[in-house]
C-alpha cells in the first residue's frame, strides 16, 4: 500500500543574521532517509514529538509535497506526479485543518464531495448512511459547519474522507483537542473500519493511547529518522523495559528471593501482594509463576505491561539505531538491538 525508500525532504529557510540586513540561507532537513512499507489492511501509528518530521512525511505520501530525494509509492502511484489519481483512492483527515465548507451545512458539504470525487450516488448514499449511523451524525447534518463542536466536526471530517471509499485513510492528529468520549468513539469507529472494511490506516498522533487502542504496529520517528518500527508488544520487549508480575499469595510471605530474571521485588499488605519486575528477555511470566508457586501458594496473578509512554521515552533516550537500515520492518534483528 505504501512503499517509502530513503525518503528525504529538506527545506530552504532564510534567516536574519545578527548584523545589518544580511540573510543566511540554510537547509533544514525535515525527513532524513526514511524507509518503510505498509501492507494493505495494516493499522500503523506514526509517532514522534513536534518537529520530528511526521507531517512532512504525510505530505509526501499524499502528494502535497515533492520529496527532495528518495522514492515513494502509494497505491502503486507516485504521489507527486499522479496527485489527482491518488486523491481519488486515499482519504486524508487533518486534525487541525478543515476540509469542509465552513458556511455550508454538513450534509451539503458531503454532496459537494460527491461531485468532486464523482462517486456514484448510490455508493455515496450507502456510505453516508453507514457513517451517519456509526458516528452518530444525525443530529447535526443540517447544521452549518462553523456551528459544530470540535468533536462533531471531527466526525464530519472523517466521514468526508471516507465517502469515496478510499483504500488508505491517513489521519494527522485526528484526536487532538477531543474530549475523552469523542476520542473513544472515533477510535472505535476507526478500529472497526480497519478490521471490517480492511481500510489501511496510517495515523500520526501525540496521544499514545490512540496507538495502544488502534494500531498493531508503530513507527517512531525523531529528527527526521525512524527510531523504531514494529508491533508495540515487541518494542516493549526490545526496548528492555521490565514487565511486572503481580502475585497475590494465600498468606503473608517474606519478599520472594532467588527468582531468575527478576530485578525488583516490592511487597504490599505484609507481603500478601508482591510485585515482581522482570526482564522479558530473560524469563517468561509462566516460568516465573511456576517458580513462585514452588515457594508459596498463589491466590491470583496478573501481568502489567510497561506504559507505552515509557517505551517511547526509552526509545528517544537511546537515539537512532546504528544499524544499516534503521527502521526496516522485515529485519527484526537490527531494530532496537543495543549495539
Amino acid at each position: 500500500m505504501i512503499e517509502a525508500t530513503e525518503l528525504s525532504r529538506s527545506f530552504r529557510v532564510t534567516r536574519k543574521s545578527g548584523r545589518r540586513l544580511r540573510r543566511i540561507r540554510e537547509e533544514v532537513v525535515a525527513v532524513r532517509s526514511v524507509s518503510f512499507t505498509v501492507e494493505a489492511g495494516e493499522a500503523v501509528g506514526y509517532i514522534g514529538p513536534n518537529g520530528a518530521g511526521k507531517s512532512t512525511t504525510i505530505k509526501m505520501l499524499t502528494g502535497i509535497l515533492v520529496p527532495t530525494s528518495g522514492r515513494v509509492r502509494v497505491c502503486g502511484l507516485d504521489p507527486s506526479r499522479q496527485r489527482i489519481d491518488l486523491a481519488r483512492r486515499i482519504g486524508v483527515v487533518f486534525g487541525q485543518r478543515s476540509q469542509l465548507w465552513w458556511d455550508l451545512p454538513l450534509a451539503e458539504s458531503f454532496q459537494l464531495l460527491r461531485h468532486i470525487y464523482r462517486t456514484p450516488p448510490s455508493d455515496h448514499a450507502e456510505r453516508l448512511e453507514e457513517c451517519t449511523e456509526l458516528l452518530g451524525l444525525k443530529g447535526f447534518l443540517t447544521t452549518p459547519v462553523r456551528q459544530l463542536s470540535l468533536g462533531q466536526r471531527m466526525r464530519g471530517e472523517v466521514t468526508a474522507a471516507l465517502l469515496h471509499a478510499p483504500e488508505l485513510l491517513v489521519l494527522d492528529e485526528p484526536t487532538i483537542g477531543l474530549d475523552l468520549e469523542s476520542k473513544q468513539r472515533l477510535r472505535e469507529f476507526l478500529a472497526e473500519l480497519n478490521t471490517r472494511r480492511r481500510t489501511t490506516l496510517v495515523l500520526t498522533t501525540h496521544a499514545l493511547d490512540d496507538i495502544e487502542r488502534l494500531c498493531r504496529r508503530m513507527l517512531v520517528i525523531d529528527r527526521g529518522r525512524v527510531l523504531a518500527d514494529g508491533p508495540l508488544e515487541r518494542l516493549r520487549v526490545e526496548v528492555g523495559l521490565e514487565r511486572t508480575l503481580v502475585v497475590d499469595l494465600e498468606r503473608p510471605t517474606a519478599p520472594l528471593r532467588g527468582l531468575a530474571g527478576v530485578v525488583e521485588v516490592r511487597t504490599e499488605t505484609d507481603g500478601r501482594r508482591q510485585r515482581l519486575s522482570f526482564q522479558a528477555d530473560r524469563t517468561t511470566a509462566a516460568a516465573l509463576i511456576t517458580a513462585v508457586a514452588r515457594q508459596a501458594p498463589i491466590h491470583d496473578v496478573s501481568v502489567v505491561e510497561p506504559e507505552i509512554d515509557d517505551v517511547v521515552r526509552r526509545l528517544y533516550a537511546r537515539g537512532p539505531t546504528t544499524a544499516e537500515h534503521p527502521g526496516r520492518f522485515d529485519a527484526p534483528n537490527d531494530v532496537l538491538r543495543a549495539p
Binding site: 502535497i64 515533492v66 481519488r88 486524508v92 458556511d103 459537494l112 461531485h115
Partner: protein
C-alpha cells in the same frame, strides 16, 4: 478536454452551493451588490467630470471614452466574478488550506476560483452593461454582422485577459506571501488603465500597461474597430482585431505561471 468539461461541472456545483448560501442573506446580498455597482460608477463620474471641462480626452470624445470604459468594466467585472476569489490565495497559503486543495482530485486553479465565489461582483457587470447599452443605443453605428460578433467576443476576450492577469499576478504569492498589493497594481491598475484610450498615457507606463499587461487589447483596440477609427498612435489595423488571440496567449501564459508556482509550493522548483 473531457477533463475540462467534468471539472467545469464540478465548478458549477461548488459555485451554486455558495450562491445559495449568499442568497439566504438577501438584504446583505442586495446591499453588497449595490456597493459594487457604485464602485464601478466612481470611474464613470470621473470621466463625466473631466468631460465637463474638456471636449476630448487623448483625441477621443465622451461617447468613445464611455464605450471604452464600459467594455473594460464589463471585462473586468466578468473576470472578477469568475476568478476574483483567487485574491484569497495568501490566506490559503498562510493557513495551510492550500494543502487541502492539493488533496482533492481537481485542478488547483478551478478549486481556488470556486472557493469564494461572490455573486455580488455582478454589480460591476450590471453598471458596465448599463453604460454600454446607453452608448450603443444612442449611437448611429451601422450594425453589421461583424460588428455584432465583435461586440459579443470583446467582453469575453477581455474577461480572459483580465482573468489571466489575476492568476499570473496572484501566483507571485507562492514566492512572496505578502505580495497582494503588488498584484493589485496590475489588476486594479490594469482595470483603471483599460477604461481610457491609451493615448492618454505616455512613455513606459503606456508600453507596460498596453502590451506587457495586454491592456490595450481589452477595450481600446476593439473599440477602435467598433467605431471604425484608425489608431492615432499608428497601430496597424490587424493589430486592433487580434484580441481573442491575445486572450488565448495570456491564458496559456497564466496557466504556465500558475503551474510553475504550484510546483514551487510543492517543492521541486525551489
Amino acid at each position: 478536454m473531457a477533463d475540462a468539461v467534468t471539472s467545469f461541472g464540478t465548478y458549477r456545483h461548488l459555485v451554486a452551493a455558495q450562491v445559495r448560501g449568499q442568497l439566504s442573506y438577501r438584504s446583505s446580498f442586495v446591499l453588497n451588490c449595490f456597493g459594487q455597482m457604485l464602485a464601478q460608477c466612481t470611474d464613470l463620474v470621473v470621466i463625466l467630470v473631466l468631460f465637463s471641462r474638456v471636449a476630448s480626452l487623448g483625441g477621443f470624445g465622451v461617447r468613445d471614452v464611455l464605450l471604452i470604459y464600459s467594455l473594460a468594466g464589463l471585462s473586468f467585472g466578468l473576470a472578477d466574478l469568475v476568478v476574483g476569489s483567487i485574491d484569497q490565495l495568501p490566506t490559503f497559503i498562510r493557513t495551510g488550506e492550500f494543502d487541502v486543495v492539493l488533496l482533492r482530485p481537481l485542478g488547483t486553479l478551478a478549486q481556488l476560483a470556486a472557493s469564494d465565489f461572490q455573486l455580488r461582483r455582478l454589480g460591476r457587470v450590471i453598471t458596465a452593461l448599463g453604460v454600454l447599452g446607453y452608448v450603443l443605443s444612442t449611437s448611429d453605428l451601422d450594425w453589421t454582422v461583424a460588428r455584432v460578433a465583435l461586440l459579443v467576443v470583446t467582453p469575453l476576450a477581455g474577461m480572459v485577459i483580465f482573468s489571466s492577469i489575476f492568476v499570473a499576478a496572484s501566483s507571485v504569492c507562492f514566492w512572496f506571501i505578502d505580495s497582494r498589493e503588488l498584484a493589485n497594481t496590475v489588476t486594479y491598475g490594469g482595470s483603471y488603465f483599460t477604461s481610457y484610450p491609451i493615448t492618454v498615457f505616455t512613455g513606459w507606463l503606456r508600453t507596460f500597461l498596453a502590451y506587457v499587461v495586454p491592456g490595450a487589447f481589452v477595450a481600446y483596440y476593439p473599440a477602435l474597430v467598433l467605431i471604425g477609427r484608425a489608431d492615432p498612435l499608428g497601430a496597424p489595423t490587424w493589430l486592433c482585431s487580434v484580441s481573442p488571440v491575445v486572450a488565448l496567449l495570456s491564458a496559456l501564459g497564466a496557466a504556465t505561471v500558475w503551474r510553475r508556482a504550484v510546483r514551487h509550493y510543492r517543492g521541486t522548483g525551489s
